[in-house]
């Protein structure tokens, strides 16, 4: 059974110039122990679709779907209180800007223990013990001391490790990572990706990796969904996608990678695809 199943998801926002459709008819399934990558450029609706699944979009967003279920439970009809019990516990999320996603007024230890208290109801000493365990698991040196550090006292990479610790604190079944390494240096990116993959392999949780970077896809994904302007262009397992992409947009994306340059010029997406036709296509 699929861990997260979404069928025909539509998200639109009311703007001064009419409705803006951010996600158009997305179907998606994630299985336990699987890493699904959603790749697309800015504005392709990759983050919005996951925020919709988490129920984190503002009230101005109109979300409709035929099916949206997690572990067999319907997320659409579920009361808000039940949904809150799932979000942050069974489904958790890591965001792009680690420093911006932590509260600067509280120590990182407090923020980690907050999750443990809210979802698991652990007592003070147990919380602390588990917090130290988690910090050790995500590779933060000197965890006992670092628990009482504030976000501004840590580097970007360390903050992202704290975010990961918070996300995996309640042993989630599904982890959604929204561009987890985009704001980080390439050597730190490698460490964070390695950490995420190690945790995923150890715990067997399902994972959705949202990214715009084909390199990150190549290093993490089992299955890939390529999105453009709110629509799904292609879905394939990672090898097929890189070896024999079937959709012209995917081909174009791959050939726009500087390492795939032939001769002096880079191919651009418009060399391959008529963008207007792509947008009109249903």
């Amino acid at each position: 059974m699929a861990l997260l199943e979404i069928r025909n998801l539509n998200v639109s926002f009311a703007t001064s110039t009419g409705m803006f459709h951010a996600v158009k008819g997305l179907d998606l399934k994630v299985h336990p122990r699987e890493v699904l990558a959603i790749v697309g450029e800015s504005g392709s609706g990759k983050s919005v679709s996951m925020l919709a699944a988490m129920g984190l979009l503002p009230k101005t967003a109109k979300v409709t779907a035929d099916v949206m279920s997690f572990n067999g439970r319907d997320l659409l009809t579920m009361p808000a209180s039940e949904r809150r019990a799932i979000i942050g516990k069974d489904i958790s999320m890591i965001f792009q800007e680690p420093i911006a996603s932590l509260n600067p007024c509280f120590t990182v230890g407090y923020q980690l223990e907050e999750t443990l208290r809210a979802h698991l109801g652990l007592g003070g000493s147990e919380r602390r013990k588990r917090a130290i365990e988690l910090f050790t698991a995500v590779g933060i040196p000197d965890p006992e001391k670092k628990l009482s550090a504030y976000p501004h006292q840590m580097s970007g990479g360390q903050c992202q490790r704290v975010m990961i610790a918070i996300a995996i604190a309640c042993k989630p079944k599904l982890l959604i990572a929204d561009e987890p390494t985009t704001a980080l240096d390439v050597t730190i990116q490698k460490q964070i990706l390695d950490l995420l993959m190690k945790l995923q392999e150890e715990t067997g949780m399902g994972m959705i990796m949202i990214t715009h970077d084909m390199g990150v896809v190549a290093e993490t994904a089992d299955r890939v969904i390529v999105k453009y302007k709110g629509r799904k262009m292609e879905e394939a397992d990672v090898l097929t996608l890189f070896e024999a992409p079937s959709h012209p947009y995917t081909k174009a994306l791959l050939s726009a990678l500087p390492e795939n340059a032939t001769g002096d010029r880079l191919s651009t997406v418009s060399d391959f695809v008529d963008m207007a036709a792509l947008e009109g296509q249903q």
Binding site: E34, S42, K190, G215, P258, R265
Partner: protein
């Protein structure tokens, strides 16, 4: 052939003000950087955040003075305190974020004509002609002349930033992460544009980036910086083919591999571990 730009032992110190509990001190952001770039060539500067690459960019562009060392442009020694318009014209910069580097209240045409107004004696009609011509050169049209920056996409804004930098016919263009904020397909277009402009005007580029695949594509020479020092400097093929310094090797190893063989190896390893699809 003389180098368009030559740096000899550039040093930059930043003072840290003292306080109640702390003595005043200094951080050495650049610890003696030397390099030279010949006309029509591209030098790529690679490094992590905090390694001093943007500090160096500001010194090369004559925005900030160096604390020590010599900077020579066209073989002429530069003193930031006595800059002539002629020298100013020779070096221009394109910044990383085109959303931040364009004035939202200035029309595109005015923005392009401003450097001419400040640095040349061109008449108003000449300035206008030159701006129109430059718009076309960077792949935009005459109709964009009267528009404001918010009416453009990220890629188009970066084209505008490049256009503005080229208005005064510089010899050297400093590109500080010019494509990092752009989507992949737009990145390809802007890199192609940069290549075309370099060929057309015989421009010299100092290209600052953290993206090794972009550097490999665009650079003639590569300089790797780490904590304010140059750890590796050579031609592109030397640096990528046979990296000498430990840090360069770490950097290369950390870059995601998008080739089929490494993906296949990873997928098979995961399958053997009973993980994945």
């Amino acid at each position: 052939m003389t180098a368009v730009i030559e740096a000899k032992g550039i040093i930059r110190d930043y003072a840290i003000p003292g306080g109640l509990f702390r003595k005043a001190g200094a951080v050495r952001a650049l610890k003696g950087i030397s390099f030279s770039v010949e006309q029509g060539k591209t030098l790529a500067i690679v490094g992590e955040s905090g390694c001093g690459k943007s500090t160096l960019a500001r010194i090369i562009t004559l925005i900030d003075p160096a604390s020590g060392g010599d900077l020579l442009i066209d073989g002429q020694k530069v003193d930031v305190r006595g800059l002539t318009p002629e020298l100013r014209r020779k070096v221009q910069i394109v910044f990383q974020n085109p959303y931040g580097s364009l004035n939202p209240r200035q029309k595109v045409g005015d923005m392009l004509m401003e450097p001419l107004l400040l640095n040349t004696d061109d008449s108003a009609s000449t300035r206008r002609e030159k701006a129109m011509a430059m718009l076309v050169k960077v792949g935009l049209g005459h109709e964009h002349f009267g528009r404001y920056p918010h009416m453009f996409s990220g890629g188009q804004r970066q084209r505008l930033a490049i256009a503005r930098a080229l208005m005064v016919n510089p010899r050297l263009l400093v590109l500080d992460e010019p494509v990092s904020a752009l989507d992949l397909s737009v990145q390809a277009q802007v890199l192609n544009l940069l290549a075309d402009l370099q060929a057309e005007f015989d421009l010299t580029y100092v290209f600052i980036s953290h993206d090794l695949s972009v550097v490999r594509y665009i650079a003639d020479n590569v300089m790797v910086m780490y904590k304010g020092e140059v750890v590796e400097y050579g031609t592109r093929d030397e640096v990528f083919g046979n990296p000498q310094h430990e840090y360069t090797r770490t950097l290369f190893a950390a870059t995601p591999e998008a080739n089929i063989d490494s993906i296949r190896a990873r997928v098979e390893r995961r399958r053997a571990a009973g993980i994945g699809a």
